[in-house]
Symmetry: D2
Subunit: 339 residues, 4 copies
């Protein structure tokens, strides 16, 4: 049971509803959404009459949500969630396009990429300063130095910055420089990190874990929303299956219409990781748009063969420009545009 | 090593090349392609000098193909394979659309569907007369009676017929009625059946097994091509993964650009089985076209909720008509048309 | 609903029950089990009063089975099914051990193996005469010649023979020579083949498909039992997962206790295919016995490195002998013995 | 290339070798193992002559390791790694048995369990104070209060304590109370956490991620060893596959012999999570021991049906006692004992 309090409900009224739920044996959970307090009742308490509850002072509405995910569900909010970052409205019928290198390697590499992707029509710059690498001996990112370069590139191009944060202890630092906090696939169920970005009041790009179900992803997002931060983009980036001879992952394109049905949150496709092979990124990108994605995140690099990470899947700058032309045609076919 | 003989090579010249290969310790394999004999050398024979081989009477060309699949590979044939069924050229830049019910249930059901899908723009009629069902107690199809109804529907609409054959003993019978022999996912590695359709000289629609790799599918097609039948369409119909709570399978959209690169054979997308949920079929269909599929196979039924099989994923006839309008827009975005 | 008729029920009484079910709108299905007719009611008929049904002439018992698999379920038969092949009782507390080469290659290879595995304590000889190979260019087996060699080896050693049949058209032929008909993993849902072995009244070894669920396997067995043949062994031989860098498949050891709970049929473990690496076969074998398998099937070869198929996973003859010593110790730990 | 320095190598000698590697274009990485400095050379430097390198002052040995994992590999250390916690030597031929509840719920629940598992022969107490839960609304653990109860239970029983740490910020706190730091499956690639426990100089139990390959797990362990902490136990706890109708995960028993070959680190089996069904835990436990595990971790609870988490897979205390009797028989069959 979800109880939505009036925007003007007093603390006393809120406490009163909470106390009433607990008296009936329920665990209670408070969160904030668009200036309203949301009270969740969980567990195995005694039955509560919704009609009676709806009469209590300060209560605006009550909802029974049978799915495990609550605040992320379409049952909780019927309309698409949209939010504005810089000039761009995420979740609208204009596709957001996030582009840039896997890792920030140097000022030159980043600036060249930032200007080129801006020119080609990207609306965000991505780049990793803290890199989750399967080997401890691989390049681990430039750290704060990388964050500063990203901020510098934003100054130069006007593109808001998306970058990954790997640890709760780094959320405050990364939030100083970044416009969007990215949670990587390997950290999708790092719950302390989810709690930390939930409290950060910054937009979040949440990548699907490589073997996370769609429901697992929605539950991970629920951790963030439960702290009152509903500026969350869900990112399909490919899953692990039995077939990896020619591709890195399997793009779960089914997840896109499914997520658009189950949740009000915007959905971003990541074709670069989803197939992992540069010459096939275009086909997967177009499939993602055709299936209904609200945006894209694409790895690009001035010289992919020299990239310190993920070079195999990074587009060259001219390839990215060509891709954007195709994306514009595709967007039109599904009655959308590109910013 | 693949040796392509001249179209006018004599039986003596062919035997001579075969004997030469065997004398060097190779296993040999003969097949026919477009009126030319192809000789494959397999196993662990002594090295053969390609230049010397190319000088032998009757030899047109030689090719070293390192992949396990040979005749199906792009290395063997660079151009897309196309073939004509009825009025339709498969593998061209006009999408083939196969539509109809999962099972042939009755004359009325089939005729109503056939006329409606024809009207909406489909180019083939599908319908199952022999049904592979996981339970022995489920409806197993109308058998030859179903084949006759399909032939009758072809008479009435002009649409060529695609239907499944489950057993080598039934290939001759099904070939009497059908224009395209379908091999179901569960039979993708039923090698006796592959051999039988290879010899049948009818076009084949080969569905990917639910846990078959792309390479496994190409090897299965190789069985058919090795009998000289290269009229094979490869069908991506969804794979089994860890996530099946809300969908039946996972549409492996990556497989489409990958197959278009690895093989010259046309690729068909089956969104109905790939997601298994009626209201999401459209998104997956559009993704398949965007990714480069040469055609589609879609389940449609006058009254899906009464269907004896696969009702959950079958479109109503108006939904199919609406889908075709979207497919036309999508085809245009990738510089194709619909027949 | 399952209706079990008295052993002495007359054809008239049986027809009468069937007619009664059909009059209520049910589909009916007849099979035989241990000399009794079983009538299944499927579909969506009107409710039937079990008490009233139990009063009809010739009816011995009625059962409501909610699982999709009926005759294979523990609900249908509580006691373990056992059956005798040669001297061996399958499904008892003495482990059956099936050993031999992947493919029958020559008389010498087979005879040497047969004598050695007999000596080491095996109770069945395995060997493939018809081989399902992923490539059409690989060795396809010796065919009937291989069957004759198997029969000859049985003469020489007294070991009953297990061999694969790939096609319904070959069931009669293989049944002439073999004691147990093996259905391979790739044919687990080749329903025409399942029907053919169901009618053959020979014991069957049914291998699990590489992406078949436990329920899929039980439904496949149901096809065989529905023809009155309940001499079916279920074989866990490894499934396809995301991890295949160092091993061929993933042995699903969970399936063993699960199958022993869900069905009364005996369960055989195939460690050779399940891991696919010779030096790890012993660990997987012991795990299978520890988990409760009723028997084992192990690939052995006089000279695995020269084997035409599956050499990497075949034990040498001395390794097999050493394995049997370990199996005996392990059997003892779970209160079993080896024949 | 791995360079092992003499135990008495001076800082100057070490710096000299590092500088030499860097001068040739290699990235260098230092770690400590058993009192010796290990220098790794990574990346794409110029070739180095191992003989010449071996002559440098302070160098004891050099090794070329082709696998991605280095310090965890058998190539680096041929003998099994063993280490002592309390009275127990991990990695010996005596099985370590870790038992206790999923979550610490109360003093009574924990004490009753601790005494009972000690009585039955367990050698460690497990219990979660910080719980990674898929829902933010589920019980998240008692936190430090839970840690204090665990320490109290250790006082009372003498059993060393294994408990999970979820965040780098909590490592120091958990290390005050725990004897073994557990990294959960969802955090297997939380690299900041791996670095933190690597520096903590406490034994670590590293659980395999639900879709981590065996190689991924070894690379995760490499993060810990690279900080000089080689007291790491690797825990197989079941993977995600396509079949989850009747079980929670698929126990990858293949991983046990494979890990014992690839690495010198001890391997622990977790049958509770691996199958997730109480009545099947015994079969999976015995399979794990039969396959060669060095230890077990088993969930037990005085009243599983009232457990706040994982009740379905927790054994009752009498069931655990009965399990231990079976484990003792099984250990004997593989020439091991239980502490």
């Amino acid at each position: 049971m979800i109880i939505i309090m009036h925007p003007e409900a007093t603390p006393y009224e809120i406490d009163n509803v909470v106390a009433g739920g607990e008296a009936k044996g329920w665990q209670t959970h408070r969160s904030r959404d668009s200036g309203q307090t949301i009270i969740g009742l969980q567990g195995k308490g005694q039955p509560i009459d919704p009609f009676h509850l709806g009469q209590m002072p300060g209560v605006e509405d009550t909802m029974a949500i049978t799915q495990k995910f609550k605040l992320t569900s379409r049952a909780f909010r019927r309309e698409d969630t949209t939010f504005t970052i810089g000039q761009v409205i995420i979740g609208s019928n204009r596709l957001a396009v996030i582009a840039g290198p896997c890792s920030v390697e140097s000022r030159d590499q980043l600036m060249e990429t930032a200007h080129a992707v801006k020119e080609a029509g990207a609306t965000f710059l991505r780049g990793g300063a803290y890199k989750p690498r399967s080997s401890p001996y691989s390049f681990q990112g430039l750290g704060e130095q990388g964050l500063k370069l990203l901020a510098e590139a934003r100054e130069a191009t006007g593109l808001p910055v998306v970058t990954e944060v790997m640890s709760p202890t780094k959320v405050a630092l990364v939030a100083v420089y970044a416009d969007v906090l990215q949670i990587g696939a390997r950290n999708m169920q790092n719950f302390d990190l989810l709690n930390a970005v939930g409290k950060a009041h910054k937009p979040v790009l949440l990548k699907r874990g490589m073997s996370a179900t769609v429901e697992d992803m929605l539950m991970a997002a629920e951790y963030i929303l439960a702290h009152g931060n509903n500026q969350v983009m869900l990112c399909e980036r490919g899953i692990r299956t039995f077939d990896n001879k020619y591709t890195r992952n399997t793009f779960d394109v089914n997840a896109i219409p499914l997520l658009k049905e189950l949740t009000h949150l915007p959905v971003i496709a990541d074709p670069s990781h989803a197939i992992g092979v540069r010459r096939h990124v275009q086909a997967v990108t177009l499939a993602g748009v055709a299936a209904g994605a609200d945006g894209l995140i694409i790895e690009t690099h001035p010289n992919p063969d020299q990239a310190v990470s993920d070079g195999d899947q990074s587009l060259t700058l001219p390839q990215f420009s060509e891709l954007m032309a195709q994306v514009r045609k595709m967007a039109k076919a599904v009655d959308k545009t590109v910013w």
